[in-house]
């Protein structure tokens, strides 16, 4: 009797747990990808710090050659972009596809703005005769921001695809897996920049 009661209690617990059951956004593969990608950047940041310790004077002097305004504006652009992506996801979950499409367009425009700003920044540097062969600091500056820029470029293509998908309403409001995957990736790109910005532009 007590046993049966116990079982009932357990079953009741399962029902309760079932109600609050949480699922992983996106597919598990995209998390594997994000984790692996973050590992690469961790490796890069580590080698940057090692190189910096060997030659602190060159790194400090070269750092002043960067314009922190570009870095700051880039940070704001990407944060806004990530916010737009999150709002788009929220809108799709409420089946408001037109709104979602606008937010995705906003995120996309921010992506373009980031690329344009980086192009201006790179041109400025190259015109000053500074390239990735100048010294170790600029080697890291160009390669780290360059690899990040490739991520931004890939992200804008993803956002473009998502925009077309929102337009044709091909998301399931209950489970918009593709949009979730795209947003997860785009947040990672944002997070990496938030780490890169102080590392290259601000750290004394």
């Amino acid at each position: 009797m007590a046993n049966a009661m116990g079982r009932l209690e357990i079953e009741a617990q399962f029902v309760a747990l079932g109600d609050v059951k949480r699922r992983l956004p996106g597919v598990d593969g995209v998390w594997v990808f994000v984790f692996a990608d973050m590992m690469v950047f961790a490796l890069l940041f580590g080698s940057f710090m090692l190189s910096r310790r060997q030659n602190p004077a060159v790194f400090e002097v070269s750092r002043h050659g960067l314009n922190p305004n570009f870095g700051g504006v880039n940070t704001l652009i990407l944060l806004t972009s990530s916010w737009c992506a999150a709002l788009a996801l929220n809108a799709v979950r409420k089946s408001r596809f037109v709104l979602a499409k606008r937010f995705i367009a906003g995120a996309l425009l921010c992506g373009f703005a980031f690329m344009v700003s980086k192009a201006i920044e790179y041109t400025e540097k190259l015109e000053d005769g500074v390239s990735l062969l100048t010294n170790d600091f600029f080697m890291y500056y160009f390669t780290l921001t360059g690899i990040h820029l490739v991520h931004v470029f890939a992200g804008t293509i993803v956002l473009l695809v998502l925009w077309f998908m929102a337009r044709s309403r091909s998301f399931d409001p209950e489970r918009p897996v593709v949009l979730e995957c795209g947003a997860i990736y785009w947040h990672m790109v944002d997070l990496l920049w938030i780490l890169l910005f102080p590392l290259l532009y601000l750290m004394r």
Partner: protein
């Protein structure tokens, strides 16, 4: 060819992947003195001295690696055949995988050949030895895109496989890992410019990490490919028909 023989060839081909991996690491890496590999910042005289010092090993390593590298071919051939089953009528991705795999063998072979040539006359002008070494490394490090396409083609085909949702060739995470490993080669393009640091051809980002990713993908893909062949072999063993005519004992018994 009867199906049992075909399945046996498939299993052997799938095992060629791990066989390639072991022989590649052993002959190309360890015996060929590529772990660690020579730095691009090394002077011509130092580089020539490196060859003379380990002449026997370098020759043996690269000459044998040039033979064992072809083990990659049956492996790719099997992957393509398996992908074509998934794709059906128009095996575009399967073909792409096959071409990418074949060219990967070509790229790896050519770079090895240049180092074998460099080791052929160690007494020649060190500048020429350096030229051949440079050529070998840039051949292998700048032409990774064939391998990238091969890997992405495989991942896309398996991800798009809706027919076999219950028993996919590889799980979802392995497909994304494949794509990640494929794009991890991109920093190697910087080997064409930089001679020191993590992006030089002996650096973490252009050598150790991408090569590790490539071999890591090989292990992962081979594991699932072999499992898949074994599963199909079991299905065949327990199927009631052989060659579409004679009923098997199992079928008679039931």
């Amino acid at each position: 060819m009867d199906e049992k023989t075909s399945l046996r060839f498939q299993l052997i081909s799938a095992w060629c992947g791990p066989a390639f991996l072991v022989t590649f690491v052993l002959f190309w890496g360890v015996i060929g003195r590529n772990i660690p590999n020579p730095s691009p910042a090394l002077s011509a005289a130092d580089l020539a001295a490196r060859y003379s010092q380990h002449l026997g090993e370098i020759r043996l390593g690269f000459i044998v690696a040039l033979i064992t590298v072809v083990l990659y071919m049956p492996w790719c051939s099997y992957i393509s055949a398996r992908m074509a089953r998934i794709e059906g009528g128009y095996p575009v991705l399967a073909n792409l995988q096959l071409i990418g795999g074949a060219l990967t063998v070509a790229v790896v072979s050519f770079s090895c050949c240049f180092w074998a040539v460099a080791a052929f006359r160690p007494e020649r002008d060190p500048a020429l030895t350096q030229l051949l070494t440079d050529t070998g490394w840039l051949v292998i490090d700048l032409q990774y895109a064939c391998t990238t396409l091969q890997m992405v083609a495989l991942a896309l085909a398996v991800l798009a496989d809706r027919k076999n949702k219950a028993t996919p060739l590889m799980p979802n995470w392995a497909c994304y890992l494949t794509i990640f490993c494929a794009v991890s080669f991109f920093p190697a393009s910087l080997t064409g410019v930089l001679k020191t640091g993590p992006f030089a051809w002996n650096g973490v980002m252009s050598y150790y990490f991408p090569y590790f990713c490539w071999l890591c993908w090989e292990i992962t893909a081979s594991t699932f490919l072999i499992k898949d062949v074994r599963r199909r072999m079991r299905d065949f063993e327990s199927s009631p028909l052989v060659d579409g005519e004679a009923p098997r004992e199992a079928a008679l018994a039931s």
